[in-house]
Symmetry: C2
Subunit: 148 residues, 2 copies
């Protein structure tokens, strides 16, 4: 699975909004771009996609910015990535379909649709809260790996 920079930016930005969700304040793209080290104007385009997907709410004007539209527990990584990655589960159409439609169909059934399902259920099971929990765990100074 190749996940583009755009997808990673989106996940990082959404995680940041999630970390500040309880606070209730809108956060600007400029602030996020500086905090995470992402080009501001590029990140704007990412937020455009996130908003279109209904994952964030925007507030225009001074003191405006973005907010999660749902609580971190209710937003899955799958939703975030499908909102951003255009070619998430897309497949280039193969010329094999013309000469060997049965083989093509078999590949579709046995391989590609199963793979799509595996990816989907894997990413649907991960929420923004899961990411935050791991961030907190990594922050613990006594997080020494005694058991490794």
């Amino acid at each position: 699975m190749r996940i583009s920079a755009k997808g990673r930016y989106g996940l990082a930005a959404m995680s940041y909004l999630a970390a500040n969700y309880k606070n209730g304040m809108a956060i600007t793209v400029l602030h996020i771009s500086e905090t995470l080290g992402i080009s501001k104007i590029y990140l704007e385009q990412v937020f455009s996609l996130l908003k279109r997907a209904g994952l964030v709410i925007s507030i225009k004007g001074s003191q405006g910015g973005y907010l999660l539209n749902r609580e971190p527990n209710g937003i899955s990584v799958y939703e975030v990535l499908t909102a951003i990655e255009t070619t998430m589960t897309e497949k280039t159409d193969s010329t094999v379909a013309e000469k060997q439609p049965i083989l093509d169909k078999a590949l579709e059934t046995v391989v590609f649709s199963q793979l799509d399902d595996a990816i989907k259920s894997s990413l649907e099971a991960i929420s923004l809260e899961d990411i935050l929990n791991n961030v907190e765990k990594l922050k613990e100074p006594d997080n020494l790996m005694y058991f490794i």
Copy 2:
């Protein structure tokens, strides 16, 4: 998951070799390219990768061609695709790592490595034989979809 045309070509070609495995004869790239409707010189490059990965054996010269190196049951779709797709599980390195290494690490742990595992185990569970079995099933004339 985006799987390139190259990957699809490789799977189709390997399935074709699998279908003719018991026969024991080498099959030429030209023959496969014509049967499947794939550019011959492009398919040659695909076979170069498959050979490098040890999935096929080649025989040079007249009456030469390619053969599976193992029985269809022993070759997984994962092996075929990783032999071909360079960016299978690759991720573009994000600039987030520099300013927010903890968040970046959390995303790596919670999202990307889990996704890689899901993709890997999903594709490892599918063999070329599974594809052939589905092809046979689709060929049955009485394969009417009574239950749909």
